[in-house]
């Protein structure tokens, strides 16, 4: 089912959203990814991915409360949609399928 286009980074973001469950918002997602994957995430990349995911319909957002730390700007919380869940599962299944199909020898990687 080709309709589930999910880039590598997008996949990570959507997984992180799932992990954070009800606490998934911009800065939070970024911190989570940076700590788990030990990889620098720029705000630009992250927000672009979020916009794309929302456009594809894999996640949905709702406004949160405004806080002093954010100078009065509201937070935007993200959640996975049903379509998003399907996309994640599709991705997971195809990866697993590929893993299962690897012949034993290929993973041994001993010099011949």
């Amino acid at each position: 089912m080709k309709k589930f286009q999910l880039g590598e980074f997008e996949e990570i973001v959507i997984l992180t959203i799932a992990v954070l469950y009800k606490e998934a918002y911009g800065v939070g997602i970024r911190k989570e990814i940076e700590s788990r994957l030990v990889r620098k995430v720029s705000m630009g990349a992250l927000h672009t991915a979020l916009v794309r995911l929302e456009d594809k319909g894999y996640i949905k957002s709702h406004e949160g409360e405004a806080t002093e730390e954010r100078a009065g700007r509201p937070k935007k919380y993200f959640q996975i949609t049903a379509l998003g869940k399907k996309a994640m599962e599709y991705s997971k299944d195809t990866r697993n399928e590929l893993w299962r199909s690897i012949p034993k020898m290929a993973l041994e990687l001993k010099a011949v």
Partner: protein, 880 residues
């Protein structure tokens, strides 16, 4: 709470999509606040990095692309509303259109003039390769290179023989001159050139009949179409006979298309063979090897793969390679060398400095070009000022449009299209103006300019011109008008800040500065002309006529002619001279006198005159005596010098001293006594000092006949009588005379033209500026209607109201004057410097101009101010 870098925050807010703005900004600030606890610098840097990296397609707000479905309808609506606006405010519209039309007309005329000047000589196909040879030599007394277009006779052949590989053609020619052409009994005066036959091919003369070989036969002539029509009418001129100057019989062997006026050869109507000229002038026989005298012209056409610089360098040693041995000393001293002046420099760069073309008419081309641009600018400034000033009327419209959903650039488009409409109408008006004023302009500028309607390029330029002017005039108002914020505007709270009126004030000042500078310039030009005119010329210009005596019928008849003319009763004196009174024809060097520095130069102008010359022209002897028949030895022994010569030679009492002529190697030729000193005669430029001149008594060198009309007789009665006498004694010569004062006046023609054009431009510039001021002041008065009404009710007099309304504008003009005065002074001094004999930039010119500017401003503004001040307060306070 520490704040993140403001500039980048603003940048972010600017580019970010509104939907995403809120929470992304919140994220940025949250991160920032966390990091700032550790280190502000780190936090700032990270903030900046994040903002920069956020600048990507998914986040940037989309450019507002509007569906183009209704574009046509929108444009129609813009034009309709624009038109309604125009007709609804007739007064302002007329001012706008009028000002722009005048500005455009001026710009168009100047553009045509510049085009005519810069396309001079482009008629010739070989334009890029043709040049004229100039003789340059080093002048030891000044250390500079000087020279002229008169060449030694042998140069043509020398070039051909020594450097054949560079030249496709080398053409010897005589100076274009006026000749008398007779066809049967009728006589015509025409300008023509005697040149070698290859001239036709070199100049790519368009032969309608005949060919490039038409001048191969010695007794042939090719004439222009215009000349053919004048002499032969409808008949075919080919093979008919003509007589040049009554001593050269020729047959018409060709007819060529009349050369257009904007060419150096533009007034040459016939070409005749060089060999004919040599054969007909005995004094030229044997001059083929004369390196001592410079008198011929030589034109060349370079081979296609050479450049002027290359050839100039190569032919530098022409003289050492070709002159006879006894000239070696002279050329070592003066280092003469030929220089090719390319055709593209002939017209605009005719003045030379140190041997190189250094300017001339090109300065006028630049000057008028700049003036044209400025006048157009003034008109555009008017437009800008009026549009922005009246913007408040359209503020509500802008507010409503924006509230409904119009985007900024749609509004800009709307206002730009309105300005384009106005500009197009103004252009149509200016076309009408140009066409109707064309004959006047041609007369003023002495040209034959017309709008090249048939030329496709012309229409391309026209469209570009309209668009450019439209944008130049309309951009600022469009941007300004479209920047109104609907909320403020619809509430009616639009109050112009102080800075709002500043650009307008600056523009008015610019307008008036330009106008005042133009006026100052005009006044100084006229002052200079008057100054030079009033310069004492040393002789009596009026009532004096002169004519050439080239016709052989004059030979031997001079004395008879004089007697008969004197007997006729209308003439008081007659004389001949070797040169006219208004041109310098001959200078020679190599003289010696007591007290002369052996190394100094000794160039003098020479004129040969008859005994009665002094009395005929009315010169003033200040020391010694005039030539007189009582002293039989005058022609052999006596010379008269002018005051400039006496000063040049450093002689306190020149009368009685002897002047000696030596040749190049110092050998004695003759010695004569100075018998008199005459007051300087201004012969060449009235702006230059008079050259040192020697007058010789010689009846033979009688090229020009001078006749002094009896002062008690009017010219109108004298001329026909003189004509009769001439017809009787010299029946073959046409009565082709000139009044000397007319010839002299012609020397001022260029400056006069500049003066007239400058005056016209100044008047137009002031008019346009005042037009703008008129519109502005009426607008301001309208704005302050209520204020004036209240003041009147409170008891203000008309006088004080008038003062209040006019004060601002007068102040602006005074500021403009302060800027214009130093600018004008500087520019005028620059122009006057090139005249050695010049007037000064006196202070009264500046004061007068400023006063005039202020008065004109007051008059313009007062009309509106007084009208507003006199309005019934009941009406002004009643408004909605």
């Amino acid at each position: 709470m520490k704040k993140p870098p403001r500039l980048f925050l603003r940048f972010f807010r600017w580019y970010c999509h509104p939907k995403l703005l809120g929470h992304i900004e919140g994220d940025l600030i949250e991160v920032y606040n966390e990091q700032v606890k550790v280190s502000k610098r780190r936090a700032d840097i990270n903030f900046i990095i994040d903002v920069v990296l956020l600048c990507r397609p998914g986040i940037i707000k989309p450019v507002e692309v509007h569906s183009n479905i209704n574009q046509r309808a929108m444009l129609k609506s813009y034009l309709k509303i624009g038109w309604r606006n125009l007709t609804g405010n007739m007064g302002y519209s007329l001012i706008n259109i009028g000002g722009l039309a005048i500005g455009m007309t001026v710009a168009i005329f100047i553009g045509l003039w510049v085009h005519d000047e810069t396309s001079f000589n482009k008629y010739h196909e070989n334009y890029d390769y043709i040049g004229q040879i100039r003789h340059n030599n080093y002048d030891p007394s000044t250390g500079l290179i000087e020279g002229g277009l008169a060449l030694e006779f042998p140069i043509g052949a020398a070039l051909k023989n020594t450097y054949p590989q560079y030249f496709k053609h080398v053409v010897m020619a005589w100076w274009p001159g006026d000749y008398s052409i007779s066809s049967g009994e009728e006589k015509f005066a025409r300008r023509g050139m005697f040149a070698e036959s290859t001239a036709l091919e070199m100049f790519s003369i368009k032969m309608k009949e005949g060919s490039y070989r038409s001048l191969d036969k010695q007794n042939s002539i090719v004439i222009s179409q215009a000349m053919a029509d004048a002499i032969f009418g409808k008949e075919d001129p080919m093979n008919k006979s003509l007589r040049i100057n009554n001593n050269m019989d020729v047959e018409v062997t060709g007819v060529f298309e009349t050369i257009p006026r904007n060419n150096q050869l533009g007034d040459v109507h016939f070409f005749a063979p060089w060999s004919l000229w040599i054969a007909s002038n005995a004094w030229l026989h044997g001059k083929e090897t004369d390196w001592d005298n410079r008198m011929t012209n030589t034109y060349v056409q370079l081979e296609p793969n050479t450049t002027v610089e290359e050839v100039n360098a190569a032919i530098k040693d022409l003289f050492p390679k070709n002159v006879p041995a006894d000239f070696y000393a002279t050329i070592a001293k003066y280092k003469p060398h030929p220089v090719i002046v390319p055709m593209n420099k002939w017209h605009l760069y005719s003045e030379f400095e140190n041997g190189e073309p250094a300017g001339g008419l090109i300065t006028f081309v630049w000057l008028f070009g700049i003036v044209g641009v400025f006048v157009l600018l003034l008109a555009c400034i008017n437009f800008i000022n009026l549009s922005t000033a009246r913007s408040e009327k359209r503020a509500r419209e802008v507010g409503v449009r924006k509230a409904i959903g119009s985007a900024r650039n749609q509004l800009v488009l709307q206002f730009l299209s309105e300005s384009l409409m106005v500009v197009t109408i103004a252009f149509a008006v200016s076309m009408l103006l140009v066409v109707s004023l064309q004959p006047l302009f041609n007369e003023l500028a002495d040209k034959e300019i017309s709008l090249p309607f048939a030329n496709v390029e012309f229409w391309g330029i026209v469209i570009a011109f309209i668009v450019l002017t439209g944008i130049m005039a309309g951009l600022y108002p469009a941007v300004y008008l479209s920047s109104f914020q609907p909320a403020r505007v619809l509430k009616g709270a639009l109050r112009l800040s102080r800075f709002g009126t500043l650009p307008r004030k600056v523009l008015v000042v610019v307008q008036f500065t330009v106008s005042v500078v133009l006026i100052i310039g005009t006044l100084i030009v006229y002052k200079q002309i008057g100054f030079a005119r009033d310069r004492p010329v040393g002789y009596n210009r009026s009532g004096l006529i002169s004519m050439g005596t080239a016709d052989p019928g004059f030979d031997g008849k001079m004395n008879v002619l004089r007697t008969e003319l004197l007997a006729s009763g209308v003439v008081s004196e007659v004389a001949t001279a070797s040169a006219p009174l208004t041109a310098l024809w001959n200078t020679t060097g190599g003289y010696d006198w007591p007290g002369k520095d052996p190394n100094a130069e000794s160039d003098f102008a020479n004129v040969n005159i008859t005994y009665e010359f002094g009395k005929t022209v009315g010169w003033e002897i200040v020391a010694g005596r005039d030539f007189s028949r009582e002293f039989g030895t005058d022609s052999a022994n006596a010379i008269i010098i002018n005051q400039a010569a006496a000063k040049y030679m450093g002689l306190e009492n020149p009368v009685g001293e002897r002047l000696t002529d030596v040749n190049e190697v110092g050998k004695f030729k003759w010695s004569k006594e100075i018998i008199g000193v005459v007051k300087d005669l201004v012969v060449s430029s009235p702006y230059e000092p008079v050259m040192q001149t020697i007058y010789y008594q010689n009846d033979q060198n009688d090229h020009i006949l001078h006749i002094r009309i009896d002062p008690s007789v009017s010219a109108a009665t004298a001329i026909p009588t003189i004509k009769e006498v001439l017809a009787k004694i010299v029946p073959t010569a046409p009565f082709d005379y000139d009044f000397v004062d007319d010839e002299f006046a012609a020397k001022f023609s260029q400056e006069q033209r500049v003066g007239k054009l400058s005056a016209i431009f100044s008047v137009l510039a002031i008019f346009i500026s005042c037009l703008g001021l008129f519109g502005l002041s009426s607008f301001v008065a309208e704005q302050r209607t209520k204020e004036i009404g209240i003041r009147k009710v409170m008891g203000a007099s008309i006088g004080s109201l008038w003062q209040m309304l006019s004060k601002d504008f007068v102040l602006l003009v005074i500021v403009a004057c302060f800027i214009a005065i130093p600018a004008g002074y500087f520019l005028m001094n620059l122009w006057l410097e090139k005249f050695e004999y010049r007037t000064e930039t006196s202070w009264w010119v500046f004061i007068l101009t400023c006063l005039a500017a202020v008065v004109i401003t007051l008059l313009t503004v007062s009309y509106q101010s007084i009208k507003a001040a006199m309005m019934n307060p009941v009406n002004s306070l009643r408004s909605e």
